[in-house]
Symmetry: C2
Amino acid sequence: MAAEPRDDVAPATSPPQRRLVTMKQVAELAGVAPSTVSRVLTGAATSVSISDETRRRVLASAEELGFRPSRLARGLRGSRTALLGLLVRDLRYPLHQSLVDAIVREAHDRGYHVVIGSTDGLDADQHELERILETRMVDGVVVVGGLDDLPGLVDELYRERIPVVGLGLGSRDGHIPIVRSDNEAGARLAFEHLAELGHRRLAVVVAGVHPEIVDRRDVFLAAAAAAGITVPPAHVIDVANRTDAAETAVAPLLASSARPTAVFCTTDMVARGVLRAAQRAGIGVPDGLSVVGYDDQEWAADWWPSLTSVRQDAWGLGSTAVRLVLEAIDDPSATVPFRDWLPVRLEVRASTGPARPDPVGGTERGD
Amino acid sequence: MAAEPRDDVAPATSPPQRRLVTMKQVAELAGVAPSTVSRVLTGAATSVSISDETRRRVLASAEELGFRPSRLARGLRGSRTALLGLLVRDLRYPLHQSLVDAIVREAHDRGYHVVIGSTDGLDADQHELERILETRMVDGVVVVGGLDDLPGLVDELYRERIPVVGLGLGSRDGHIPIVRSDNEAGARLAFEHLAELGHRRLAVVVAGVHPEIVDRRDVFLAAAAAAGITVPPAHVIDVANRTDAAETAVAPLLASSARPTAVFCTTDMVARGVLRAAQRAGIGVPDGLSVVGYDDQEWAADWWPSLTSVRQDAWGLGSTAVRLVLEAIDDPSATVPFRDWLPVRLEVRASTGPARPDPVGGTERGD
DNA sequence: TTGTAAGCGTTATCAA
DNA sequence: TTGATAACGCTTACAA
């Protein structure tokens, strides 16, 4: 039987799917008005005061009934939903996963839930955004990566008066606060490390066109130039931020006689591709080739050889972003710091070593 | 001054933080009643029909104003919030990260947003759950891992009439649908692989006490027994599902003269610990020791040596779980399949090889 | 075929 | 110090 026995006093509409404790019930039990319950529970110290007796009764009743205020109703009424929107460019990028972890936990610590949206599909971006906004459920938004690919994003969020903070591979010149690591320092650390090891024939693998990536490349090249080292254009390889793409793209370079003795990779994912390509080409790392990565992503220390990499503080990045959005939510008129540079450090591992006087297996013939 | 200049025609309350298009405005522009707009927009084929002319005007007005229905109001009114709760036991466990990715994308494809909650802190579990429920915002919940650690979870969700589906390391005997891989087949595959390679001195590293993990152990041991192989209790090592814990725990085993020639690890994370311990002990893998993992987590193929592992279909697991919850949401009276076994397969890589006649470096003295 | 009105649970304003 | 009341934006009987 699908139908339950009819209840004579059932409400006019279909039986509520979820029986839930409402404020009115608490009020009834406590023998006060709903508004009083609200006042007690919201702890509204606002001007009015409440008799101890009443407060006690209300709290007791709420406790007894297991009352939980509906965030839906609260949100509708105009206050906060305590929901934070999170738009992630690529949920499979290891750094982004760490960021999500950090963001979720920081948000929880501050009493917020996180509504997560992934913008993996290239065209889905706008769509996704609309879905988040459409609900108008979120008090603020953190965008991880790909800010540049969402042209109307900032504007639309701004129009909706929803605070946004960008995180990760975001633009330098947007109109919203962006939390990033100190890419300049990171790229410089990478260069200095290789330079100290005696490397002068360098290459750079550029993982995509995002501003952060480009910054890393530029700073690295500038540092090299300042040290009197020229990196030939053919040694600056543009590639998608994917391991397989990098592996394919650097193969010709490694096969050439003029191949570099060291490679700076702007992300670990492409560094992994370089390691694979070297292995395939029979070039030993670090003896035949030194490789520096960027991100120090999960498990990069377990690769073979373990990867020397510029470590980003994912936890710091995530929690800072959350902190900034929540500040903006709490005080919309306040000016949040426009940008936050988090320090990086170099994790030196087995993928880098001293430059050999002569590249192993190199011939004089170029191509 | 905190107070803003007064606006004579301002609404009684403080100025709405977010100006938004409401249904009433659409109705006004279209020259119809709000209810009509609702009918048109919800596509309510329910009994009533609407004149083409009206429908056209409503749609045009909605489009022109950029109207987006408030999910808040909808949810409050009793319908769906289109929000899916996601409770993740450990957001840093690589398999869980893949599951989150799959879940988020599947949910999006089906028009749902995902509210994510992490239950990393051991005591925060109940707290977290309460927070998700407290909002009563979610139409359903997917719980990834750790279902057993949340005693009251199922009951409470059941009481709230919120559909739940468990995923991953969940209990076998709960009262809710659980989506899992075929652990039996996985453990058997692992054993058969090692047996074919001639291994008879086996060990098992058990990563925690979750039912799935225990199942893998039991099936592996049973298969061994059936093949006439006894795994001594000292070779069954219980350990937390962490790399460092595993590394420490197996060190004595590897140092013993009676050490196994092959180890079955119930997760890749502990397999990584075993690989490290072997490396530290100077035991070559796979020559001195074969290692099989479980999960085939991200990057395990890039370890050294690359890990032979039982691959779980994270994508299939995630999307199936979402499918089941949404089915339950759409039809609360329907009976969803109680359990779903997803197939696994063995990825054979470099960490397993034929058993040596005599364990390398073994002595006769035990300890 | 469409409009009217009530109500979802909460909070803010006003009056008592 | 507290209670009644009116929104918030939407859906859905019921009436027209």
